[in-house]
Symmetry: C2
Amino acid sequence: MKIGVIGATGKAGSKIVNEALSRGHQVTVLVRSAAKAKTLFGDKVTIIEKDAFALTKHDFNGLDAIVNAFSVPLGKHLAYQHIDLAVHLIHLLRGTQTPRILFILGGGSLQTEKGLLVDQLKQIPNSQDWIDTPESQYHELNFLRTVTNVNWVGVSPSQSFEDGPKTDYVLGKDQLLFDEHQKSVVTTGTMAAAILDELEHPTVRQARFTVRNK
Amino acid sequence: MKIGVIGATGKAGSKIVNEALSRGHQVTVLVRSAAKAKTLFGDKVTIIEKDAFALTKHDFNGLDAIVNAFSVPLGKHLAYQHIDLAVHLIHLLRGTQTPRILFILGGGSLQTEKGLLVDQLKQIPNSQDWIDTPESQYHELNFLRTVTNVNWVGVSPSQSFEDGPKTDYVLGKDQLLFDEHQKSVVTTGTMAAAILDELEHPTVRQARFTVRNK
């Protein structure tokens, strides 16, 4: 497949690019810094250097799938960019079936036995310093759920989203997943593998799924 | 004041431009067709000819307020443009206080004794042909309600939004308004007057109000 990755030089994005390359896909990275992409991926990818909000339909020409792995540093100041960029990208794709677009969402929009995770996160002392980020990603999912004329899918990590290699994994829908030790962890390698599996063999349409390490 | 009007040549927008001009404000119209604007307003306004989705921060330079009177024909095909454009405009203004931006929303997001109006509209036979429009405007309001770093305000018409001259009016918040004859009507002239009154003497911030003819 021809896969475009937005935010390709980030924690999640770089693993996705490498997973896609290892499976023989053609990868286009849509990044702010071509130099950084060059350092990470050499000549193995096509590079489009552009601010994500400046992307146009033309940049998606020929792609079968897009992964939006864009993220901003945790905190108040830029959190809104998650929802704003999601709408920008969806707008470019309105009324189309191809490319399919996968959004990496936060975990805050997942449900737990006590309700929505983001509502519980708000109870943590000093959460006002960073709560805007999971809230914006929750708004992002709520927006996506209104979209019926784009071929989109969302994926939320588990509560802890850690840098690490791929493992076997367990999938879920809208519930936060825990293992038998009550840990809720997914590594970046596992997330990348789950995303590539979903792109190669689509099982979810216009909905969100979640993943944890087995 | 310097006021920009998006969708200035439409049913609501043209009345707003004329009301603003009659009160001595300087008006910039942001329109798809400069020729149509010229026919309607002659040399009394500054014209910026541009697709609304192509507007940039630069186009808002020097404006004190923006009125978004953009709308698309009722129906499935383009309804999403209401929410998409709202996010585009908000994105351009993130982290600012000026210009203030006023959105003309639908009436479907108003509450009645039986619940949300848009949910009742869905019960009308063949509503699937046009329900996407009030639904998109409801999503638009839900999005705006998440926005805390832009100086926005929304206004919903009454159930019937008719072309007609300005009258005295009654304001409300989130409840659909009815007169003593159980009619829920606002005319375009009244809407324009209520909007200009709100721009000249702000009373609502980061919330939606509604208006009916008295």
